[in-house]
């Protein structure tokens, strides 16, 4: 996973709440088990004119002003809905490395952290100010996000602080493989299971609860 430390880049405003993962990556766009090739499918239902692959000039990511966006700013509850990790793959393969919103769907947020995409949470007043500045043709729509400092710098130069859990910050800063970290705790997992098996034997397959019809021919 690519580490995330800081970035300065073009940001795109999406001034709506509850942007769901079906919008970010429609189900019909995920017709392969591969993890690549999702950049062009990001927001496919909004980004292209109906039934075509012709860019809709009104969609924010198609406007020249926001070309090459690396940051997306939206309202509340961004990434709600389906657990599909392809939503994050589509954002990152398009080039979006950070999202700024008031809140997130929990599964989407977890998926971001594990794919090197930073989900910044800011109070709604700060989000509304950012959205307004990004829509202001008099300013370049550029923001700077610094994970170590925990800050977002708006186009106007205003700086907003954000919080993120220490474990999640480290995982993003290091680009760490969380599975590897857990596998290093193998002795603790084995010890837990030995204790637990005595307390809750029915949870384990060797407790004599093997179902009668579970055998395949």
């Amino acid at each position: 996973m690519d580490p995330f430390v800081r970035l300065q880049g073009v940001a795109a405003p999406m001034p709506i709440d509850n942007v769901d993962t079906d919008a970010i990556i429609p189900s019909k766009e995920t017709q392969s088990t591969a993890r690549s090739g999702y950049g062009e499918k990001l927001f496919a239902n909004w980004r292209y004119l109906a039934g075509t692959r012709e860019p809709d000039p009104d969609f924010v990511l198609n406007r020249p002003r926001h070309a090459g966006a690396q940051v997306l700013v939206a309202g509340r509850n961004f990434g709600c809905g389906s657990s599909r990790e392809a939503a994050v793959w589509a954002l990152s393969q398009f080039g979006i490395r950070a999202v700024i919103a008031e809140s997130y769907g929990a599964i989407f947020r977890n998926n971001c952290i594990r794919n090197g995409v930073l989900p910044v949470m800011l109070p709604i007043a700060a989000v509304e100010q950012l959205l307004a500045e990004l829509a202001d043709a008099g300013r370049a729509p550029v923001v700077a996000v610094d994970l170590r400092a925990g800050t977002v710098r708006a186009p106007s130069g205003a700086v907003f602080g954000f919080e993120i859990g220490a474990l999640e910050r480290e995982m993003l800063l290091q680009g760490a493989d969380e599975i590897e970290l857990t596998l290093k705790q193998r002795h603790l997992i084995d010890a837990f299971r030995a204790r637990d098996r005595a307390l809750r034997p029915w949870v384990y397959a060797d407790a004599g609860q093997e179902p009668s019809h579970a055998q395949d021919p």
Partner: protein
């Protein structure tokens, strides 16, 4: 005397393998459920990283998301690319030694429907699945939540997942539901009142007289939509209803193991005086059938109420969302939904496809016909549900009314590029998501209970089921 704890705190404490700091624990995961949409990807990723499945006996799989639901279905799917997902899933699970309920298996069905049906989802178990509606399993008292592919690999490889301790929320539905008002109406009302992010960061315990009175099926409907409320998960404390539901099922504990398990399950309810970060009380007796008007489940009204005016929303993003939803849905602010013409009706999905749901719909459909021009489809949640309905003659009620009667699966809960409502524009649906294009390009989804869907199918317009119930 130990400090009073909530249901979720008790289950949590029984699963902590290690404290990771930052209010996060490494939890043991008792069950991983897999399906062909994300399960093959998880197993491919695991293999590519040179890892193996930690405990294959703690995983189960089924085919539900991609397979067709037409009678006589095969591996060839209407969804382009479906065969690749199915092959990858079968190969991955076979190599790992994971049991799968495949097409043709008498236990096949929607993963969140069959897990309790098999007795594989149980009170006090931690359960994950690569599907956001895994929280459904809270209906039998499991602590269950949805995850992505990377976390699925994690759970399979280590039988553990790091999880941040959630805030504790309790919603008590007091009083009794009126006839014609269901668990679906309860949860839509909750989301409408407190917003689609009202449960953010919370483990939500549903409690109160009206919840206790629900069957496990109704409780699963409540918990299913906890994710639409933005909650991390939803759960109902296990009780006699839960035990009676589970006893004797294939994967439930048997004999002395059952007695041991039940003794623990009975201790799991939230203690008197347990601390909740948020608690709310809803008068269940005052609820009416709910229907969504917009493209978020929070955009809900009671059947007799008008669609709200966009000016009634506070700030820019909320008003922007309402205006976008009104335009997409083609509904008129200030006008009621009741009486709005529909093109299709759908009964199915992990929200409302259990035998209780089909029986309820049949109460309305018996002796009646679906209105002319309305495409009506019923997809039982599992093959056992379908067989049970057929044994009770419910299939004949649906078909005589003009409903298609399908094989079990997720079906038209979402549009994947294959199956469709055949050009229908406005659909009333017993599913969980009314997002733009969720059920097809340009399709306008109104979420409602199976009763409301059945009444609307017959009326040809969005209808109040209380006016259509057989007494």
């Amino acid at each position: 005397m130990a400090a009073p704890r909530t249901l979720v705190e008790k289950i949590w404490a029984a699963h902590v393998v290690a404290e990771l700091g930052d209010a996060t624990d490494l939890l043991h995961i008792d069950r991983v459920f897999l399906h062909e949409r994300s399960g093959g990807r998880m197993l491919q990723g695991l293999t590519a990283a040179g890892r193996t499945v930690f405990d294959p006996a703690m995983a189960l799989g089924t085919l539900d998301h991609i397979i067709d639901t037409d009678p006589g279905r095969t591996d060839k799917t209407k969804f382009p690319g479906g065969a690749e997902f199915i092959a990858a899933f079968r190969e991955g699970t076979r190599a790992a030694g994971i049991k799968v309920f495949d097409i043709g298996d008498p236990a096949q069905g929607i993963v969140h429907v069959i897990a309790p049906e098999l007795g594989a989802a149980q009170p006090g178990l931690t359960v994950v699945c690569g599907d956001s509606h895994t929280c459904t399993l809270g209906g039998v008292g499991a602590l269950a939540w949805g995850i992505g592919v990377t976390q699925g690999e994690h759970a399979l490889a280590t039988q553990c997942l790091p999880a941040a301790r959630p805030k504790q929320m309790r919603v008590r539905f007091e009083g009794r539901l009126a006839d014609g008002v269901t668990a679906k109406d309860m949860v839509l009302h909750l989301i409408r009142t407190h917003g689609a992010r009202g449960g953010e960061g919370c483990a939500l315990e549903y409690a109160g007289e009206a919840v206790r009175a629900l069957s496990c099926a109704g409780r699963m409907t409540l918990c299913n939509m906890a994710v639409e409320f933005g909650a991390w998960t939803g759960i109902v404390a296990p009780d006699q209803t839960t035990f009676e539901f589970l006893q004797g099922r294939a994967y439930a504990p048997q004999g002395p193991q059952w007695d041991l398990a039940a003794a623990w399950w009975k201790t799991l309810g939230s203690d008197d005086g347990a601390g909740f970060d948020r608690e709310m009380v809803i008068d269940a007796a005052a609820l009416s059938p709910s229907v969504t008007w917009g493209t978020s489940s929070e955009q809900t009204v009671g059947i007799a109420e008008p669609v709200p005016l966009p000016g009634s929303f506070a700030d820019g993003a909320a008003r922007g969302s309402a205006e976008k939803a009104l335009a997409y849905m083609g509904v008129t602010p200030g006008q009621p939904l009741k009486g709005l013409a529909i093109d299709a009706a759908f009964i199915g999905s992990c929200t409302n496809s259990r035998i209780e749901d089909l029986r309820a719909a049949a109460r309305v459909l018996a002796g009646r016909k679906v209105a002319a021009g309305v495409t009506a489809i019923c997809v039982p949640g599992s093959t056992p549900v379908k067989r049970q309905a057929e044994a009770e003659g419910i299939d004949r009620v649906f078909m005589a009314a003009g409903f298609q009667w399908r094989e079990a699966g997720c079906s038209l809960c979402f549009y994947n590029g294959g199956d469709s409502f055949g050009g229908a524009r406005r659909v009333i649906s017993s599913t969980n998501r009314n997002f733009e294009n969720r059920q097809g390009p340009g399709v306008r989804t109104h979420l409602a209970s199976p009763l409301t869907v059945a009444a609307s199918a017959v009326a040809g317009v969005i209808a109040d089921p209380r006016e259509w119930l057989r007494r």
